[in-house]
């Protein structure tokens, strides 16, 4: 069962915190976005292993874009 984590808003990707293969817990920070002078952490919504980080630092994401998958 994979959790797809998507962007809630247009934003820049400031930091990629987790890497593919990392074991994460519910609430761990995967990526930090930046929008309108605010840092917005993107969190794991369940415990598991990071199957994919779909963004790179410096990318611009649109609302609904895939950020990561946790299995």
């Amino acid at each position: 069962m994979a959790d797809e984590i998507r962007a809630e808003m247009v934003a820049n990707v400031w930091k990629v915190v987790a890497a593919t293969g990392d074991r994460v817990d519910d609430g761990d920070t995967l990526v930090i976005l930046e929008s309108m002078k605010m840092e917005i952490p993107v969190l794991a919504e369940s415990s598991g292993v990071v199957a994919e980080i779909a963004v790179n630092e410096g990318d611009v994401v649109q609302e609904g874009d895939l950020i990561a998958r946790v299995e």
């Binding site: 808003m9 247009v10 930046e34 929008s35 309108m36 002078k37 605010m38 611009v60 609302e63």
Partner: protein
């Protein structure tokens, strides 16, 4: 008065400053990024100059490009608004070195107040009360030792900071260590200096500030206080004047302290002395910082005094006598409230840019809207999320509240996220309605 002024800002504050310039017959020049090419502040200006790409570092924060725009358009003065380069002493110096007039205090005053630790020391020396605090702390161990000495809870702050960035109130050592590291990272990133210090945190306090105006002859006037206790993430969302938590006796002492603070740095122009007022009725207050520029929430002061603070700034900078009579300051009349309309959701306060498909703003007696956008404009992710300031005036606080409720109900923004529903809630919230609230209000509403 000047013939022309360049406004080195964007959004609502650029529009607002341009408005006063034009009322005074001063030609207003706007600057903008590529993302703001068609923005409202560009549309209302008499002339505009492209600075560079969307990121602020390559446009609104690029001193060289702003000065170039000033030279090309032949303006006499630069008004910085707030944010961006407004509290950048190097910019102020380079404006003056370029033969232009800087609409603001001397760079030395900006520097004296820009380092929060040095400012605390200077204010204590000038007889202004400051909360117990520390010097910058080199590491988390030093922070832990200092916090044990001051006593929890403590506030972690960036020495070069502002806008609540990196600030956190913590109750114990593990939280302090985490907050210390976060604050260092953010301070380095946003302010270019990782220096972090601690200050005693007052959990039940109001944030009350005093508007000052330093005149060309060196006199400093206190023009009223503003209560800015309605905050999320240590950033203000609503302000009012007079403060429901300040007695006439306390007001008098705060005004005197604010004048001392400004006199200590030989202050010229408009500035704001921010204080914390414990909500225990002790009548104490503590200096937080001085903002050496026009404040976002300045309109509430204008609404109860009739003063145009931007005009007074321009007059001081131009060496003209003030429009107000320094010997007979206007008695504040009635009550004013400002609500900051942000492109953010009203529950978690996460920003959400987008194209504005519908924008209907209230108007009428006692209502002032300082907007940076109109229908059809796009809110981009590059800048802060302030869309507009809804300001209302009433003969007394209940009348202002009633007018604010109607104005919020009549304000429609569609497209980006918008926090208007927060204000519909706030204006009915018992603590806010009674006036007994403190800086923890929004957290309690969202717990």
């Amino acid at each position: 008065m000047f013939e022309s002024v360049l406004v080195a800002n964007r959004g609502e504050i650029a529009v607002r400053v341009i408005g006063t310039c034009q009322r005074l017959g001063v030609k207003a020049v706007a600057v903008h990024s590529e993302a703001d090419a068609g923005a409202l502040h560009v549309r209302v200006a008499d002339e505009s100059v492209l600075l560079g790409p969307a990121p602020a570092a390559e446009s609104y924060l690029d001193i060289g490009r702003v000065l170039e725009a000033a030279q090309v358009t032949g303006v006499q003065a630069i008004h910085p608004g707030y944010g961006f380069l407004a509290e950048n002493a190097e910019f102020a110096r380079r404006v003056t070195d370029a033969g232009l007039v800087w609409v603001g205090p001397a760079p030395e005053a900006i520097e004296a107040m820009g380092d929060k630790v040095a400012a605390r020391a200077a204010m204590a020396a000038a007889g202004v009360p400051v909360a117990p605090g520390t010097d910058p702390l080199p590491d988390a161990d030093a922070a832990a030792a200092a916090a044990a000495r001051i006593g929890y809870p403590v506030m972690v702050k960036a020495a070069a900071g502002g806008g609540g960035i990196g600030m956190a109130a913590v109750d114990d050592e593990p939280a302090l260590r985490t907050a210390y590291e976060t604050a260092r990272t953010r301070a380095e990133r946003f302010f270019g200096s990782p220096a972090v210090f601690l200050e005693r945190y007052l959990p039940h306090a109001r944030h009350v500030e005093v508007q000052v105006l330093g005149l060309t002859d060196g006199r400093v006037l206190a023009l009223g206080e503003r209560d800015c206790s309605v905050q999320r993430r240590h950033q203000k969302v609503a302000e009012e004047t007079p403060s429901p938590g300040v007695t006439p006796a306390l007001r008098e002492r705060m005004f005197a302290a604010a004048r001392r603070a400004a006199l200590a740095v030989d202050y010229r122009g408009a500035g704001t002395v921010e204080c914390l007022v414990p909500a225990d009725g002790s009548g104490e207050f503590f200096f937080l910082e001085m903002n050496t520029r026009l404040q976002v929430e300045h309109p509430v002061t204008e609404l109860v005094t009739g003063i145009d603070l931007v005009e007074e700034q321009l007059r001081v900078a131009a060496g003209d006598p003030p429009a107000l009579d320094p010997d007979r300051l206007p008695e504040p009349h009635g009550h004013a409230i400002e609500l900051r309309i942000y492109a953010e959701d009203p529950k978690r306060f996460l920003p959400g840019p987008g194209k504005i498909t519908r924008w209907e703003q209230p108007s009428g007696e006692g209502i002032r809207v300082d907007a940076g956008y109109a229908a059809g404009d796009t809110v981009t992710p590059y800048y802060d999320p302030l869309l507009a300031k809804l300001c209302v005036w009433g003969a007394d606080r209940p009348a202002a509240l009633e007018r604010a409720r109607a104005a919020v109900a009549g304000f429609v923004v569609e497209g980006p996220k918008c926090n208007l529903p927060l204000f519909a809630e706030l204006l009915q919230q018992p603590e806010f309605v009674s006036g007994s609230y403190d800086t923890g209000l929004i957290d309690r509403m969202r717990r």
